[in-house]
Every structure is written in C-alpha cells, then in structure tokens.
Symmetry: C2
Subunit: 275 residues, 2 copies
C-alpha cells in the first residue's frame, strides 16, 4: 500500500487506529474455546467488528509462534481472511526482526513473499541495533514498508535509547536520522511509544513527514491527545495501535459489542483531532 | 544445559564449534530435492556428520520462517531429531527477538516451552534495543540461556553499536555492562562478531567470564586465531559459529565428506588453542 492510499484511508474512515491482535487463548472469551481454531475465530470476530473503525491491523507474531505449528496456522488463516474481506486494511507483522543481510533477505521473504511463506504483509517491524544492512533488504520490496524501533513505550526504553553522544544526540535520534536515509517517507515508518509523547516534538524536529506507529495508548497508559498534539503532520502521520484494551474489552458471549464500543470511543476521539 | 555441562562438552570434544543451520533449499545438494522434506533431510545429514566435532547447533529461524508452515515443520523435525539422537548438543534458536515484557513472555514460550510450541531450545538470541523488560522474561526459565547481541559481525554494526557517551563508553560496552546484571554467567551469553576480534580484549575487560557466541568466522572473514587469543577464558568462554563454509562445503551427492573435512579442520585448529 502506498503512503497516499494509507493517508486516503485515514481521511475516509476518520481514524488512524491500528488494532493489535495479541491473541492469547488464555484471555479470549471462553465460549470460543470449543471452536476448531479459537484464535482464528476470535481474530475474525474482532476484525469483522472493527474493520470500518480502523485502518490497520497488527498481529503480534510472538502470540502465534508461542503455539507452534497450530499458532502459525491460525496466523495464516487470519491473514488470508483479512486480505480477502478487507483489502484496504494496512497489515503489519509485528515481528521486530533484526539480522545480517543474507538473513534479513530471508525475513523479508517471510513477511512479503506470499509464494514463499504464505504472507505478504504491508509492513514489518524491525529492530535497528545491527544497522543498515539488517534493514535495507526489506526496502527492495516495492509497495512494502519497514517500521523501525526508535523510541519504545516500555520501561526498558531508558536503558539504551537515551544514550547520548558528546554532541547531545541520543540513540533514538541517531536511529531516526541515519535510518531515514536508507529509504524514504513512502517505505519507512518509526515506532514511537505514546508513553514518550512529550518527546514527539523532538522526533518531529528530525522527521516532520514520516509516519509513526505509536503503541502504548490504553493498557500502557499513554495519552492519545498528547500523541495527536505533538505528533500529527499534514498527512496525519500517525498510526496509533491499541491491542489489549480493545480486543479484551469483555469476555462474555456478547464481547463484540464491547469491542465495538471501545473502538468507536477511540475512533471518535481520533476523528476530533482530524478535523 | 548448565555452564558446567557446556564447558565439559567443550573439553571432551576438544571443540567450541557451533554449526549454523542456515538451510536454503536453493543451496543444498540437488539430489536432496527429491526428498519429501529436503530441508530436514539436509539438516539430519549435516548433524549426523558433525555431531562429534561440534558442541552446539544453531538453526537460523529466518530460513525456516521464509518457507512458511512447511519451513516451520522442517524446523520442528530438525529439533526433535537432534534432541533424540544427540542429547549433549547445545541447541540455539537464532531468532534475535526483542519486544515488551508481556510479548517477550510469549517469545520465551516459543523457544523454551515444549508443551506450548514444540521446542525447548537451550538458548535464544535476542536484541537489547528495548532494554531490561524485553530480556528478563527469558531469564526466569531454569536451565535456559539468552544470548544478547552486543557487537555484531556485519558492516552495519558501525551505525549504532559504537555510539559513544561523554565518558567514553560505547553502546556495545553499555549493553555488556547493564545487561550482564540482569542475569549471571550461567544464563547470559553475548554475541561478539569475529570480524571485531581486535575488540575482544575490551569485551574481556568488562566481562572476563561470560560465554561469547562468535559469528563471522568463515564466509564473513573473521580469524579464529585472533578470536581464541583475545577471547578465551578459563572455561574457554567461546562458542564459534560457522554456517555457510561448513554446510555448503560441497554440493555433490558426496557432500557430507567435504562437510566433515571442513568441520574437522576447524575442530583441529580449536583443539590446538584448547591445549
């Protein structure tokens, strides 16, 4: 999907919401556990419920891999279902991969080459620790995106991401500055956590136009208003991810009503910022 | 596997070789392609050929994931075959995962919880970019290890890993210093590339006793002699990984003879350093 198409979907839907599918069989409504594939069934119901309120869906690979072959199969079915039914959905593999060039090539095939792996996500998250040759192999896939970790939403972000050079540049700023040059605003986004929203002004000073994928609203406590105020640009430039507080809004048989209500609340708040 | 058991295997076998299973169907001997599962068949033959010359085996997850469900199945079969036939082999999932705590918990289940995923590797590689809470969930598994990226073997290592604080500490040194405190010498190793072997003295000044997993000998040009000279400690403290130059030593029907010859050369050189 191009930047223009993504920005168009955001305007049309009045939403820059990304729904994270961190699907854990221990947390989904118990009546679904009698299904053949409860994880897929849950994901299908979630996506059917929020498809008009969200522009992106982000399966978190760890949750599927932790169930081995069965989990991988649930992810394949989820992917195929969304592609077949909601072709305008921006699909992000939240995988945070990171390896040397010949291996990064293989990871690119995992997430982008449908013939090889069964998937052709629009984007994959990556960690920048190993530098340019660990990221550039993803950028040779036309129409595909990498989303590079810059400033994450967790406590451990402070351990390394704020390390500072003599000239005052912090590691997350160096990541933004160097790695933005490896591609362009149409194939690179950055992860910036909502719990760090006060620093979004610093990010926008370095990269005014790039899209940011923003986790940390909801369960982790980040503020949507602060993110929008400090992070929005002329193409909106934000995808705000919410996982747990939407998908686990309720665990009754009627859970999708609560899921929809929660997603609508967030979309309505977003829509106000878009106006 | 404990540190004592690993060090014992190294002394007994006269080897600190780790063989990397970066298995690519486009590179394996063509006569294997007629098998039901050429990737598993190749891996089985490689491990049967080198099992007495190596102390560790390291499947590179990207190569299996890139083939989707089929690749995941080949990895499960490879894992089960090695565990059943070579129980003293240290098994490393080269996955370089990295995510917030609740997700890192899921990745730990992927690689360590056989009931959940089918795997219980001895160790998994991780990226430190997201800090302590992205790594500590792996450390609560008794007998299991994390292997943290510190100084990698690729060109892109220079982009961020040498970033320097005012006090002179570089990012890879900060990773060694901070993250070594999250566990101990019996559950944390670090990745240090052989192409950076001149810096192993700096690493040993910070962490004299930890094991290092060392990629970059062979295809990438690192020197085993320099690694051994600058990196070895009283428990050896090194696992040197070689992938391509062993497993793709030849592509004829008789390829295992060349694989064995190459692995023997490396083991013999290692054995000289051990004496």
């Amino acid at each position: 999907m191009t930047r223009e198409e993504l920005a168009g979907n955001i305007r049309r839907k009045g939403s820059f919401l990304c729904v994270g599918l961190d699907t854990d069989p221990g947390k989904i409504p118990s009546h679904l556990l009698k299904e053949d594939d409860p994880v897929f069934e849950f994901n299908r119901l979630i996506v059917d419920t929020v498809h008009d309120l969200a522009v992106a869906v982000k399966p978190n690979l760890a949750f599927y891999e932790s169930m081995g072959m069965k989990g991988w199969m649930s992810l394949v079915k989820t992917f195929d279902y969304i592609r077949a039914n909601y072709p305008d959905m921006f699909l992000i593999a939240d995988a945070k991969r990171c390896d040397i060039g010949n291996t990064a090539n293989m990871y690119a095939r995992t997430f982008f080459d449908k013939k090889s792996s069964g998937f052709d996500f629009d984007a994959v998250t990556v960690s920048p620790y190993m530098g340019e040759d660990s990221i550039s192999p993803f950028l040779s896939w036309p129409g595909k995106w990498v989303i590079i970790l810059a400033l994450t939403s967790n406590k451990g972000a402070a351990d390394f991401q704020f390390m500072q050079e003599k000239n005052g540049e912090r590691l997350f700023e160096r990541v933004l500055r160097l790695s933005s040059a490896w591609g362009n605003e149409g194939n690179i986004m950055f992860v910036a956590g909502a719990t760090q929203a006060s620093l979004f002004k610093d990010i926008r000073r370095i990269l005014p136009y790039h899209f940011l994928l923003v986790p940390g609203v909801g369960e982790q406590g980040g503020s949507l208003a602060e993110v929008a105020e400090n992070g929005m640009n002329k193409d909106v430039g934000l995808l705000v991810n919410v996982s747990r507080s939407i998908i686990y809004a309720d665990d009754s048989e009627n859970f999708t009503a609560f899921v929809r209500q929660k997603a609508e609340e967030i979309r309505n708040e977003m829509n106000r910022f878009l106006k």
